[in-house]
Amino acid sequence: MEWLTDPWTSEIMRRAFAEAIVMGAAAGALGCFVLLRGLAFLGESVAHTLILGVVVAFLLGGPVALGAVGAAAATVGLSSLLAADRRFSVDVSMGVLLPSFFGLGVTLIALTDGYRARLEDTLFGAILGVTDLDLGLAAFVALAAAATLLLAGKELALVAFDRPMARAMGYRVGLLDLLLFALVTLVAVVALRAVGNVLLTAMLLGPALSARLLTRTLWPMVALAGGLGTLAGVLGLYWSYSSAVGGGPAIVLVVAMLFALAAGGRAAITLVR
């Protein structure tokens, strides 16, 4: 049983587990809304625009998490400004912001001598290096996500299912959208630390996709996706601890394996019927 308890003896690993569990649950649960609203591109875009904030934070000597939050806020703010024009959808405005922010970030990296060595952390995560601020942010985001789903979960579901009806019922659909985008962005900031820029979308969509295959209605799907995200975080860290695989890639690979299992199970059920 040593393999089970050994990782928990190290302070670094305990922090990593805490980050992975909280991030996995929040990303899994919110990922369901990203999936059902067809916002996969939003997650991807936010992930790529964050790199600018990370680099700027590094240049200014501030905490990376704050830089990411700043870039995320700028992304959501600017894209909802653009999307207010009926000719642009959220996707389109993100499509404009993504290359601009990403390009600017990469340019800054090229001009900054000291940063290139840390680029890998931004791309693939550095879950073994989480700070108190990272953990605090992760806890805050998870609480905010839980509170939102508790207070406005059924309204978010209504908007996802039938937008015109939600509007006709008097709900401020635009505000609910903004709330969802803001939460997804915050989760992206947290996941950036854990699994990195490139792998972040997998964390957001993988557990949600697996849960969609195995459930019939929304709330069981959200609960299962949160659970699968957490499971992937924990299993991935165990794997990473006992091998040379990095934490971020290991977690994302477990997400992919869980999806393969879910898809296989689903196919088997269909065959048997």
Binding site: L36, L151, K154, L158, P164, M165, A168, T217
Partner: protein
């Protein structure tokens, strides 16, 4: 008799294209109104303007709450929700933000599913239901909203005979209770049989009034152009399924 809907000089434009211009009419409470017109005439647009879902010019007054049954879209089929869950969405505005539907709300929703002939499908997911069944679930949701005015977009198209009769039964019952129903349809003969008032559109209002006033060759020719045939003194529109304009853009 009080007016449930009154519209004066209503106009809706999508960009430079005018979808509806200068539409004025009133609907007495308790009426069942058929909204007719060729494809692209602005039928769905009128419903969405009444719903407050598209920007419009002119004056518009409608008794609230307004319930709406949209045209079927495939997108909704992918959403993980069962029939009972859809009906319960109709109770959300009454519940407020954090409250979940109660046991009584659930019983009520089950009764409404029974009313539209789907008592045994409460736990079926939306994508397991046929087109007609989905539409009836959405009708049950509209009933759960306890709307004073019901807006139904093509509730009779693409459905089987049993669905049609159930839907028409429910509409008649709602009208008898003083509620007002506006329904778009491209089925003229059916509308003439069941509606007590008609509203004929073609980017603007062509005619409006009781079914007897409207169902004349002259009015129909103005709305549908040359595709009107007179048989035994009753006008009919030649509905060529291979020559439909693209669906109305909304």
């Amino acid at each position: 008799m009080t007016a449930a809907v009154s519209v004066d000089g209503l106009g809706v434009a999508f960009g430079a294209r005018a979808a509806l211009q200068d539409v004025s009419f009133t609907v007495p409470a308790g009426s069942f109104v058929g909204i007719l017109g060729p494809n692209g005439a602005g039928k769905t647009t009128l419903l969405r303007a009444l719903l407050g879902d598209v920007a419009h010019t002119g004056r518009l007054a409608i008794e609230r709450p307004v319930a709406y049954v949209p045209q079927l879209s495939d997108a909704q089929g992918a959403f993980p929700i069962d029939a009972l869950g859809v009906v319960l969405m109709g109770t959300y505005p009454r519940l407020g933000w954090w409250r979940r539907p109660s046991g009584a709300d659930r019983d009520g929703a089950r009764e409404l599913l029974d009313r539209v002939g789907l008592a045994d499908r409460a736990r079926s997911t939306f994508d397991e239901l046929s087109g007609g069944q989905r539409q009836r679930v959405l009708l049950a949701r509209a009933l759960a909203q306890e709307g004073r005015v019901l807006l139904l977009d093509e509730p009779l198209s693409g459905t089987d005979a049993r669905s049609r009769e159930l839907v028409l039964d429910v509409i008649a019952e709602q009208c008898a209770r003083g509620r007002t129903v506006l329904m778009t349809t491209h089925d003229l003969a059916e509308a003439a049989r069941v509606c007590d008032r008609m509203l004929v559109l073609n980017r603007g209002l062509v005619a409006e009034g009781t079914t007897e006033e409207i169902f004349t060759e002259d009015v129909l020719r103005r709305a549908y152009g040359g595709d009107v045939l007179v048989l035994d003194g009753r006008p009919a529109v030649i509905d060529d399924p291979h020559h439909h304009a693209p669906r109305e853009r909304v």
